[in-house]
């Protein structure tokens, strides 16, 4: 009887058990599925949060607060002897003009400390702006003009609403007195936000309102250009050799293993290499695009080599056989027939490698790219910094206005990265070929 219960009868029993458990099993199925969906939603949420946070913090940096004041270009201050000598005009005390204009706008302010506070509302960069105006147009001397003057970063933050006016004075960076002045200027229509050109045309500065990313952008440009010049030929050459010519032996195996491992070595270790070898032994000047490019080349090489080898692999052997068949040498076969077909794939890999290099920070800290450099670099061996390092430096600054600028710099960096990755995707789509 036992036999029939295991062999003959069970079908009924099985289906009953199965049907009875179905509800529970499907509940578990739904839970598991929901868990998966939650994970995806969380991941997407993080992306949105990250971008919303950066854009929310940074979008205001593309505008800058200016204060309109009637400035009298007093000849006695600018050019007392009336020679019109540019050297004299350049050396003149334009700050005095601004202070005078401020005192005129606020005649009730007389105490010395308060006058200084009044002056602090205008950026220390404003005088040089006046100077440039005068140098461009001598006719201004002796006249009174309404001039838009660059506001100090605290005033900028106040106008943009990053400093809460309702907070008690002790917790606010701007005191009640200054707040009153600003509100008066605002009610007179003397305060306006305009597009922030300084951000894109100036190098960095200790004053947030005068700090720009032009220097870092130039540094990044020179660094990437050199990195591409170094790594593309070397990467393609190495891939060509390893994929097409290399004999299968221990040495090439070793190279293979090495390339795969280098791709996963922490970037900071490359910084140590750069510091000890390129700067320490070969004496490459530190803080320059040259040494940064050398380090980044070593870092991006694995990416380019791996991508280039994949591109070479996707070229069908029939092409090589055809070329060899008409008497081309192996090298001619590669250069004339295989490389052109593999080129889109190699370029895609290189763009992705360059995007990595553009965002890289840690190793560059080791080789002195962290130095405070105001001037916009002019070449491969002039001291410079790069965009991500600039972001790191600004992120460390305590001023509220630097938070805004850091986020804006990140937005610029991300825009470049998105552009590069997009072009890689498009390139891949455009030239995707099926054999």
């Amino acid at each position: 009887m036992n036999k029939s219960s295991t062999a003959g009868a069970p079908p009924r029993r099985t289906i009953e058990i199965v049907n009875a458990s179905l509800k529970r099993r499907y509940a578990r199925e739904r839970r598991f599925r929901a868990l998966g969906l939650t994970a995806v939603v969380l991941g997407v949420f993080f992306v949105v949060l990250l971008f919303a946070d950066i854009i929310g913090k940074g979008h205001t940096a593309f505008q800058q607060t200016y204060v309109r004041l009637p400035v009298t270009f007093d000849a006695a201050v600018i050019d007392p002897s009336g020679t019109g000598d540019p050297e004299v005009l350049r050396q003149a005390n334009y700050g005095a003009l601004i202070r005078a204009a401020l005192r005129e706008a606020f005649p009730e302010v007389t105490e010395r400390r308060e006058i200084r506070a009044l002056g602090a509302m205008i950026s220390v960069g404003a005088p040089s702006h006046l100077r440039d105006q005068v140098l461009a147009d001598r006719g201004l001397i002796g006249t009174t003009q309404e001039v838009w003057l660059l506001a100090d970063d605290d005033i900028d933050m106040l106008v943009k609403g990053h400093i809460d006016r309702k907070l008690p004075e002790s917790e606010r960076r701007v005191n009640d007195q200054t707040l009153g002045w600003v509100e008066r200027l605002e009610s007179e229509g003397r305060v306006a936000k305009r597009f922030n050109t300084i951000f894109f045309t100036h190098g960095t500065s200790r004053e947030p309102e005068l700090a720009g990313i032009a220097g870092a952008l130039a540094g990044s440009f020179y660094t990437l250009l050199l990195t591409l010049l170094f790594s593309f030929p070397i990467g393609v050459g190495a891939a060509l050799y390893l994929e097409e010519f290399a004999p299968k032996n221990r040495w090439t195996d070793l190279i293979e293993v090495n390339i795969n491992n280098l791709a996963a070595v922490p970037s900071i270790v490359f910084g140590l290499l750069g510091l000890a070898v390129f700067i320490g032994i070969f004496g490459v000047p530190r803080s320059t695009p040259l040494v940064a490019a050398l380090v980044l080349t070593l870092m991006t090489l694995p990416t380019i080599i791996i991508a280039s080898r994949a591109a070479l692999k996707s070229v069908p052997p029939s092409i090589r056989e055809a070329a060899l068949g008409v008497g081309a040498s192996p090298l001619q076969t590669q250069l004339h027939h295989v490389l052109p077909l593999a080129m889109p794939g190699m370029l895609t890999g290189s763009i992705i490698g360059m995007a990595q290099a553009l965002g890289e920070t840690a190793p560059l800290l080791m080789i002195g790219m962290i130095a405070f450099i105001v001037d916009i670099p002019s070449g491969f061996t002039s001291p410079s910094t790069v965009l991500p390092v600039q972001i790191f430096l600004w992120a460390d600054s305590p001023e509220r206005a630097f938070v805004e600028r850091t986020s804006a710099a990140i937005m610029v960096l991300l825009a470049f990265l998105i552009l590069m990755n997009l072009s890689a995707v498009l390139l891949r789509r455009r030239f995707e070929r099926r054999w």
């Binding site: 295991t6 062999a7 003959g8 069970p10 079908p11 029993r13 099985t14 289906i15 058990i17 199965v18 049907n19 458990s21 179905l22 099993r25 069908p316 029939s318 054999w435």
Partner: protein, 287 residues
């Protein structure tokens, strides 16, 4: 070289497509599709892959305790039809099945019937042995475990051993149940898959060319096993080997380009086919 092969492939694809397009009108089946004591009853089954019709108005019964063989040239739809019987086609995105397929009088495509409980009743053995990357024991215990057929270890042990015995594998593996299923030979792996299916105590077992990846000796063992399993189960087997169909089945169905051309006693089909296409296939004029 490669282009010529590719072209040929394309041409043959184009031909099949053209034939399919031209022959949307299905051909009537010769012979009796019904049996006296059916377990599964299929009527006017159509299967579409997107816009392409793979099965055209096929009707066929599968009786209790019998082996039905489905034969026909490759691409004729016999595997597709088989996969309809336990709704394995559900996993393919744009596959559509119409008509009626009943198991013990219940429509298996009915919305209230769950594919999980259907598949517990209609098991399947595949062309290539596909043991899970687990031990032999766990492979067989997998079905009972997920369905919760037994809660006690002793019962499970008993179930595993009887299933392996029924699949004729017990004597070969009883001492190494903990070894991975993939360590067995091809024929043993296929019998492990059969044991795995039996462990759930299905009513119908579907076999999709179960011996095509095996050597002749392993094939013979499996064929013998199929004959023994007929006592407890209904079996539908797709095969490309006419000899195998002749050896293991009681009834044979001949498929051609999505049509069920002829059904009959296996003896009759192989000795006295009534349809011209069946005869051409049996006598080896194509296929």
């Amino acid at each position: 070289m490669s282009t010529t092969v590719e072209e040929m492939q394309q041409r043959s694809n184009a031909m099949t497509a053209a034939e399919l397009a031209g022959g949307t009108e299905s051909r009537a089946t010769v012979g009796d599709v019904t049996v006296a004591d059916p377990r599964m009853v299929c009527r006017d089954v159509d299967v579409w892959y997107g816009a392409k019709q793979a099965i055209k108005r096929v009707s066929l019964d599968i009786g209790k305790n019998e082996v039905v063989a489905m034969i026909g040239p490759s691409g004729c739809g016999k595997s597709t039809f088989l996969r309809c019987l336990n709704r394995m086609n559900d996993t393919i995105a744009d596959c559509r099945v119409t008509g009626s397929i009943q198991l013990d009088g219940r429509d298996i495509y009915d919305r209230t019937l769950d594919p999980v409980s259907l598949r517990a009743q209609v098991g399947m053995v595949f062309q290539k042995p596909n043991p899970f990357p687990k031990s032999i024991y766990e492979n067989v215990a997998y079905g009972p475990r997920i369905h919760g057929l037994t809660n006690r270890r002793a019962e499970l042990d008993e179930l595993v051993s009887t299933s392996l015995q029924k699949a004729g594998l017990w004597n070969e593996v009883k001492d190494r149940l903990e070894q991975p299923g993939t360590s067995l030979s091809g024929g043993q792996q296929q019998r492990l898959c059969i044991a795995r299916t039996i462990a759930v105590s299905p009513e119908v077992i579907l076999m999709d060319e179960p011996c095509s990846a095996l050597d002749p000796i392993a094939t013979a063992i499996i064929e013998e096993l199929i004959d023994e399993l007929r006592v407890s189960y209904s079996i539908a087997i797709v095969t490309h080997s006419m000899q195998q169909a002749a050896r293991v089945s009681q009834r044979t169905a001949y498929f051609h380009l999505g049509d069920l051309i002829e059904v009959g006693e296996t003896n009759q089909i192989f000795t006295n086919p009534r349809h011209k296409l069946t005869e051409d296939y049996i006598t080896g004029r194509f296929g």
